[in-house]
Amino acid sequence: MPYIPLEEHLPGITGLLEYRKDSAQPIRELTQILLRGQSTFTEGERELIATVVSSGNNCTFCTTAHTAAADLLIGNTETAKKVKEDINTAPVSGKMKALLTIASMVRESGKSVTPEAIQKAKDEGATDVEIHDTVLIAALFCLYNRYVDGLATALPDDSGYFNVLANRLVRHGYTRLPQGYDHLKKEKI
Protein backbone atom coordinates (compact mmCIF):
# COMPACT_ATOMS: atom_id res chain seq x y z
CA MET A 1 0.00 0.00 0.00
CA PRO A 2 1.43 3.39 -0.97
CA TYR A 3 1.91 5.81 1.94
CA ILE A 4 -0.22 8.46 0.23
CA PRO A 5 -3.40 8.03 -1.84
CA LEU A 6 -2.43 7.41 -5.47
CA GLU A 7 -4.65 6.35 -8.34
CA GLU A 8 -4.89 2.57 -8.45
CA HIS A 9 -4.50 2.26 -12.20
CA LEU A 10 -1.15 4.09 -12.05
CA PRO A 11 1.57 1.94 -10.40
CA GLY A 12 5.14 2.96 -9.57
CA ILE A 13 6.30 6.37 -10.72
CA THR A 14 3.27 6.92 -12.94
CA GLY A 15 0.92 7.61 -10.02
CA LEU A 16 3.41 9.96 -8.37
CA LEU A 17 3.83 12.02 -11.53
CA GLU A 18 0.06 12.51 -11.65
CA TYR A 19 -0.22 13.17 -7.89
CA ARG A 20 1.71 16.41 -8.14
CA LYS A 21 1.90 17.54 -11.76
CA ASP A 22 3.78 20.77 -11.09
CA SER A 23 6.76 18.94 -9.59
CA ALA A 24 6.43 16.21 -12.23
CA GLN A 25 6.83 18.62 -15.12
CA PRO A 26 10.55 19.49 -14.64
CA ILE A 27 11.35 15.86 -13.76
CA ARG A 28 9.72 14.72 -16.99
CA GLU A 29 11.48 17.43 -18.99
CA LEU A 30 14.88 16.59 -17.53
CA THR A 31 14.37 12.90 -18.31
CA GLN A 32 13.23 13.64 -21.84
CA ILE A 33 16.36 15.76 -22.52
CA LEU A 34 18.75 13.23 -20.98
CA LEU A 35 17.24 10.01 -22.32
CA ARG A 36 15.67 11.13 -25.60
CA GLY A 37 17.31 14.45 -26.49
CA GLN A 38 20.10 14.97 -29.00
CA SER A 39 23.09 12.94 -27.87
CA THR A 40 26.08 10.95 -29.05
CA PHE A 41 24.62 8.08 -27.01
CA THR A 42 21.98 5.83 -28.48
CA GLU A 43 18.65 5.79 -26.62
CA GLY A 44 19.37 2.17 -25.71
CA GLU A 45 22.71 3.08 -24.11
CA ARG A 46 21.02 5.71 -21.97
CA GLU A 47 18.32 3.25 -20.90
CA LEU A 48 21.13 0.88 -19.85
CA ILE A 49 22.50 3.56 -17.49
CA ALA A 50 19.01 3.96 -15.99
CA THR A 51 18.69 0.18 -15.70
CA VAL A 52 22.04 -0.36 -13.98
CA VAL A 53 21.36 2.35 -11.40
CA SER A 54 17.79 1.20 -10.70
CA SER A 55 18.95 -2.38 -10.40
CA GLY A 56 21.72 -1.42 -7.98
CA ASN A 57 19.15 0.46 -5.89
CA ASN A 58 16.86 -2.61 -5.91
CA CYS A 59 13.98 -0.60 -7.29
CA THR A 60 11.82 -3.25 -8.93
CA PHE A 61 9.44 -0.93 -10.78
CA CYS A 62 12.18 1.23 -12.33
CA THR A 63 14.48 -1.71 -13.10
CA THR A 64 11.72 -3.65 -14.87
CA ALA A 65 10.48 -0.61 -16.79
CA HIS A 66 13.90 0.51 -18.03
CA THR A 67 15.06 -3.03 -18.77
CA ALA A 68 11.97 -3.41 -20.96
CA ALA A 69 12.68 -0.09 -22.69
CA ALA A 70 16.36 -1.02 -23.21
CA ASP A 71 15.39 -4.43 -24.59
CA LEU A 72 13.04 -2.85 -27.09
CA LEU A 73 15.56 -0.20 -28.20
CA ILE A 74 18.55 -2.55 -28.38
CA GLY A 75 16.58 -5.39 -29.96
CA ASN A 76 17.58 -8.15 -27.56
CA THR A 77 17.11 -9.06 -23.90
CA GLU A 78 20.66 -10.26 -23.32
CA THR A 79 22.41 -6.89 -23.13
CA ALA A 80 20.42 -5.39 -20.27
CA LYS A 81 20.38 -8.72 -18.44
CA LYS A 82 24.17 -9.10 -18.65
CA VAL A 83 24.83 -5.47 -17.78
CA LYS A 84 22.85 -5.92 -14.56
CA GLU A 85 24.82 -9.08 -13.71
CA ASP A 86 28.33 -7.85 -14.46
CA ILE A 87 29.25 -4.71 -16.35
CA ASN A 88 32.76 -5.94 -17.17
CA THR A 89 31.66 -9.07 -19.04
CA ALA A 90 28.52 -7.57 -20.62
CA PRO A 91 28.31 -7.32 -24.44
CA VAL A 92 28.80 -3.54 -24.61
CA SER A 93 31.69 -1.35 -25.81
CA GLY A 94 34.70 -0.55 -23.64
CA LYS A 95 33.46 3.03 -23.45
CA MET A 96 30.02 1.93 -22.19
CA LYS A 97 31.63 -0.36 -19.63
CA ALA A 98 33.63 2.57 -18.27
CA LEU A 99 30.58 4.85 -18.20
CA LEU A 100 28.33 2.24 -16.59
CA THR A 101 31.03 1.82 -13.95
CA ILE A 102 30.93 5.57 -13.28
CA ALA A 103 27.11 5.38 -13.06
CA SER A 104 27.39 2.61 -10.47
CA MET A 105 29.79 4.74 -8.43
CA VAL A 106 27.42 7.72 -8.59
CA ARG A 107 24.67 5.41 -7.35
CA GLU A 108 26.67 4.70 -4.21
CA SER A 109 27.57 8.35 -3.70
CA GLY A 110 28.89 11.26 -5.71
CA LYS A 111 32.05 10.95 -3.66
CA SER A 112 32.60 7.36 -4.78
CA VAL A 113 33.52 8.41 -8.32
CA THR A 114 37.29 8.11 -8.72
CA PRO A 115 39.65 10.05 -11.03
CA GLU A 116 40.79 6.64 -12.32
CA ALA A 117 37.26 5.71 -13.40
CA ILE A 118 36.94 9.06 -15.20
CA GLN A 119 40.34 8.62 -16.87
CA LYS A 120 39.38 5.14 -18.01
CA ALA A 121 36.22 6.51 -19.66
CA LYS A 122 38.23 9.25 -21.36
CA ASP A 123 40.81 6.71 -22.56
CA GLU A 124 37.95 4.72 -24.09
CA GLY A 125 36.87 7.84 -25.98
CA ALA A 126 34.11 9.25 -23.75
CA THR A 127 33.61 13.00 -24.19
CA ASP A 128 33.06 15.50 -21.39
CA VAL A 129 29.38 15.80 -22.32
CA GLU A 130 29.02 12.00 -22.22
CA ILE A 131 30.61 11.86 -18.76
CA HIS A 132 28.41 14.74 -17.61
CA ASP A 133 25.27 13.08 -18.88
CA THR A 134 26.22 9.71 -17.39
CA VAL A 135 26.63 11.31 -13.96
CA LEU A 136 23.38 13.26 -14.25
CA ILE A 137 21.36 10.29 -15.55
CA ALA A 138 22.68 8.15 -12.70
CA ALA A 139 21.88 10.92 -10.19
CA LEU A 140 18.40 11.38 -11.67
CA PHE A 141 17.64 7.69 -11.23
CA CYS A 142 18.76 7.93 -7.61
CA LEU A 143 15.94 10.47 -7.34
CA TYR A 144 13.42 8.27 -9.17
CA ASN A 145 14.27 5.09 -7.25
CA ARG A 146 13.93 6.85 -3.88
CA TYR A 147 10.72 8.59 -4.92
CA VAL A 148 9.14 5.31 -6.06
CA ASP A 149 10.21 3.19 -3.07
CA GLY A 150 10.18 5.96 -0.45
CA LEU A 151 6.42 6.30 -0.88
CA ALA A 152 5.92 2.52 -1.19
CA THR A 153 4.24 2.70 -4.59
CA ALA A 154 2.56 -0.41 -5.96
CA LEU A 155 3.79 -2.77 -8.63
CA PRO A 156 1.35 -3.52 -11.47
CA ASP A 157 -0.87 -6.62 -11.08
CA ASP A 158 -0.44 -7.55 -14.70
CA SER A 159 3.07 -8.52 -15.87
CA GLY A 160 2.15 -7.37 -19.39
CA TYR A 161 2.01 -3.86 -18.00
CA PHE A 162 5.73 -3.27 -18.53
CA ASN A 163 5.53 -4.12 -22.23
CA VAL A 164 2.84 -1.48 -22.67
CA LEU A 165 4.88 1.00 -20.62
CA ALA A 166 8.10 0.26 -22.55
CA ASN A 167 6.28 0.81 -25.83
CA ARG A 168 5.09 4.18 -24.58
CA LEU A 169 8.61 5.14 -23.41
CA VAL A 170 10.05 4.18 -26.80
CA ARG A 171 7.34 5.70 -29.02
CA HIS A 172 6.31 8.71 -26.99
CA GLY A 173 9.15 9.33 -24.50
CA TYR A 174 8.92 10.85 -21.04
CA THR A 175 6.69 13.86 -21.53
CA ARG A 176 3.13 13.67 -20.21
CA LEU A 177 0.57 12.26 -22.62
CA PRO A 178 -1.56 15.20 -23.79
CA GLN A 179 -4.74 13.29 -22.96
CA GLY A 180 -3.52 12.16 -19.52
CA TYR A 181 -3.82 8.56 -18.36
CA ASP A 182 -7.52 7.97 -17.66
CA HIS A 183 -7.74 5.68 -20.71
CA LEU A 184 -5.59 3.16 -18.81
CA LYS A 185 -8.46 2.63 -16.35
CA LYS A 186 -10.48 0.96 -19.11
CA GLU A 187 -7.70 -1.49 -19.87
CA LYS A 188 -7.80 -2.79 -16.32
CA ILE A 189 -10.33 -5.58 -15.90
Binding site: R20, G110, A138
Partner: protein, 183 residues
Protein backbone atom coordinates in the same frame (compact mmCIF):
# COMPACT_ATOMS: atom_id res chain seq x y z
CA UNK B 1 39.70 20.07 -10.24
CA UNK B 2 36.39 19.06 -11.76
CA UNK B 3 36.51 15.73 -13.63
CA UNK B 4 35.51 17.38 -16.90
CA UNK B 5 36.41 20.74 -18.42
CA UNK B 6 33.49 22.87 -17.24
CA UNK B 7 35.02 25.80 -19.15
CA UNK B 8 34.05 28.40 -16.54
CA UNK B 9 35.37 28.47 -13.00
CA UNK B 10 32.06 28.50 -11.15
CA UNK B 11 31.51 26.86 -7.75
CA UNK B 12 29.34 23.82 -7.03
CA UNK B 13 26.34 23.04 -9.19
CA UNK B 14 26.74 26.30 -11.09
CA UNK B 15 29.70 24.79 -12.98
CA UNK B 16 27.83 21.88 -14.62
CA UNK B 17 24.73 24.07 -15.00
CA UNK B 18 26.72 26.56 -17.08
CA UNK B 19 28.30 23.63 -18.98
CA UNK B 20 24.89 22.21 -19.94
CA UNK B 21 22.18 24.93 -19.78
CA UNK B 22 19.56 22.67 -21.35
CA UNK B 23 19.48 20.36 -18.32
CA UNK B 24 20.03 23.28 -15.89
CA UNK B 25 16.59 24.69 -16.74
CA UNK B 26 14.46 21.79 -15.45
CA UNK B 27 16.86 21.28 -12.51
CA UNK B 28 16.26 24.85 -11.42
CA UNK B 29 12.53 24.59 -12.08
CA UNK B 30 12.40 21.53 -9.84
CA UNK B 31 14.24 23.40 -7.06
CA UNK B 32 11.82 26.32 -7.49
CA UNK B 33 8.64 24.26 -7.19
CA UNK B 34 9.93 22.18 -4.28
CA UNK B 35 11.81 24.78 -2.23
CA UNK B 36 10.69 28.30 -3.11
CA UNK B 37 7.11 28.14 -4.42
CA UNK B 38 4.76 29.46 -1.72
CA UNK B 39 1.93 27.12 -2.71
CA UNK B 40 3.02 24.75 0.07
CA UNK B 41 2.02 24.18 3.70
CA UNK B 42 5.64 23.46 4.62
CA UNK B 43 7.53 26.71 5.12
CA UNK B 44 10.44 27.55 2.84
CA UNK B 45 12.71 27.20 5.87
CA UNK B 46 11.47 23.68 6.61
CA UNK B 47 11.93 22.61 3.00
CA UNK B 48 15.44 24.09 2.77
CA UNK B 49 16.28 22.38 6.06
CA UNK B 50 15.24 19.01 4.61
CA UNK B 51 17.55 19.70 1.66
CA UNK B 52 20.40 20.78 3.93
CA UNK B 53 19.97 17.76 6.17
CA UNK B 54 20.01 15.25 3.30
CA UNK B 55 23.02 17.04 1.79
CA UNK B 56 24.87 16.76 5.11
CA UNK B 57 24.05 13.04 5.28
CA UNK B 58 25.45 12.74 1.76
CA UNK B 59 28.50 14.74 2.91
CA UNK B 60 28.03 17.28 0.10
CA UNK B 61 29.74 20.40 1.42
CA UNK B 62 28.48 22.76 -1.27
CA UNK B 63 24.79 21.79 -1.10
CA UNK B 64 24.57 21.58 2.68
CA UNK B 65 26.04 25.07 2.98
CA UNK B 66 23.94 26.66 0.24
CA UNK B 67 20.71 25.21 1.60
CA UNK B 68 21.71 25.42 5.26
CA UNK B 69 22.28 29.14 4.67
CA UNK B 70 18.84 29.42 3.05
CA UNK B 71 17.23 27.66 6.04
CA UNK B 72 19.21 29.95 8.35
CA UNK B 73 17.92 32.98 6.43
CA UNK B 74 14.29 31.86 6.73
CA UNK B 75 14.61 30.71 10.36
CA UNK B 76 16.46 33.91 11.28
CA UNK B 77 19.06 31.94 13.20
CA UNK B 78 22.84 31.43 13.05
CA UNK B 79 25.15 28.75 11.62
CA UNK B 80 25.49 26.79 14.91
CA UNK B 81 21.69 26.42 15.09
CA UNK B 82 21.59 24.82 11.62
CA UNK B 83 24.65 22.70 12.44
CA UNK B 84 22.92 21.42 15.59
CA UNK B 85 19.91 20.28 13.53
CA UNK B 86 22.16 18.53 11.03
CA UNK B 87 24.09 16.83 13.80
CA UNK B 88 21.18 15.75 16.02
CA UNK B 89 17.76 17.02 14.96
CA UNK B 90 16.01 15.04 17.71
CA UNK B 91 17.61 17.24 20.37
CA UNK B 92 17.20 20.49 18.42
CA UNK B 93 14.56 23.07 19.32
CA UNK B 94 12.40 22.47 16.24
CA UNK B 95 8.81 21.20 15.93
CA UNK B 96 7.99 17.52 16.41
CA UNK B 97 6.52 17.52 12.92
CA UNK B 98 9.78 18.72 11.36
CA UNK B 99 11.69 16.12 13.38
CA UNK B 100 9.39 13.39 12.06
CA UNK B 101 9.81 14.66 8.48
CA UNK B 102 13.61 14.80 8.85
CA UNK B 103 13.50 11.17 10.00
CA UNK B 104 11.70 10.24 6.77
CA UNK B 105 14.17 12.33 4.75
CA UNK B 106 17.06 10.57 6.49
CA UNK B 107 15.64 7.20 5.48
CA UNK B 108 15.15 8.33 1.87
CA UNK B 109 18.81 9.37 1.84
CA UNK B 110 19.83 5.78 2.64
CA UNK B 111 17.41 4.32 0.12
CA UNK B 112 13.69 4.47 -0.63
CA UNK B 113 13.06 1.14 1.04
CA UNK B 114 14.34 2.45 4.40
CA UNK B 115 11.21 4.54 4.91
CA UNK B 116 8.92 2.64 7.28
CA UNK B 117 5.12 2.79 7.73
CA UNK B 118 5.84 3.69 11.38
CA UNK B 119 7.85 6.75 10.37
CA UNK B 120 5.04 7.91 8.11
CA UNK B 121 2.44 7.26 10.83
CA UNK B 122 4.57 9.11 13.35
CA UNK B 123 4.71 12.16 11.07
CA UNK B 124 0.92 12.03 10.69
CA UNK B 125 0.42 12.10 14.47
CA UNK B 126 2.16 15.49 14.45
CA UNK B 127 -0.14 16.76 11.72
CA UNK B 128 1.86 16.00 8.57
CA UNK B 129 -0.44 15.79 5.53
CA UNK B 130 -0.18 13.44 2.54
CA UNK B 131 1.16 16.26 0.44
CA UNK B 132 3.77 17.17 3.08
CA UNK B 133 4.92 13.55 3.28
CA UNK B 134 5.06 13.44 -0.52
CA UNK B 135 7.10 16.63 -0.67
CA UNK B 136 9.48 15.49 2.06
CA UNK B 137 10.25 12.29 0.15
CA UNK B 138 10.63 14.12 -3.16
CA UNK B 139 12.82 16.88 -1.71
CA UNK B 140 15.05 14.25 -0.07
CA UNK B 141 15.18 12.25 -3.33
CA UNK B 142 15.94 15.41 -5.32
CA UNK B 143 18.88 16.22 -3.06
CA UNK B 144 20.19 12.69 -3.55
CA UNK B 145 20.32 13.71 -7.21
CA UNK B 146 21.74 17.24 -6.72
CA UNK B 147 24.43 16.03 -4.28
CA UNK B 148 25.55 13.29 -6.68
CA UNK B 149 25.63 15.73 -9.58
CA UNK B 150 27.82 18.14 -7.60
CA UNK B 151 30.21 15.59 -6.09
CA UNK B 152 30.14 13.01 -8.91
CA UNK B 153 31.76 15.62 -11.18
CA UNK B 154 34.11 16.75 -8.39
CA UNK B 155 33.06 20.39 -8.56
CA UNK B 156 34.77 23.07 -6.50
CA UNK B 157 33.20 24.24 -3.21
CA UNK B 158 34.34 27.48 -1.51
CA UNK B 159 35.40 26.61 2.04
CA UNK B 160 34.45 29.94 3.69
CA UNK B 161 30.96 29.22 5.03
CA UNK B 162 30.14 32.90 5.42
CA UNK B 163 30.14 33.21 1.61
CA UNK B 164 27.09 30.93 1.50
CA UNK B 165 25.33 32.92 4.23
CA UNK B 166 26.00 36.14 2.33
CA UNK B 167 24.38 34.77 -0.83
CA UNK B 168 21.27 33.32 0.83
CA UNK B 169 19.25 36.54 0.98
CA UNK B 170 19.35 37.18 -2.75
CA UNK B 171 18.50 33.55 -3.52
CA UNK B 172 15.53 33.74 -1.13
CA UNK B 173 14.32 36.85 -2.93
CA UNK B 174 14.90 35.66 -6.49
CA UNK B 175 14.19 31.96 -6.15
CA UNK B 176 15.62 29.31 -8.44
CA UNK B 177 13.50 29.46 -11.59
CA UNK B 178 15.48 32.06 -13.49
CA UNK B 179 18.74 31.42 -11.70
CA UNK B 180 21.67 33.11 -13.39
CA UNK B 181 24.58 30.74 -12.76
CA UNK B 182 27.10 33.49 -13.57
CA UNK B 183 25.90 35.87 -10.86
Amino acid sequence: MAFIDLQKDLPGIRGPMAFRPETAKPLNELAEVLLHDDNNTLSRGEREMIGAYVSSQNDCFYCQNVHGALAQHYFQCDIPFIDAIKKDYQSAPISDKLKALLAIAGSVQKGGKYVTPEQVEHARTFGATDREIHDTVLIAAAFCMFNRYVDGLNTRAPQDRQLYVDRAKIRAEEGYADLNVYK
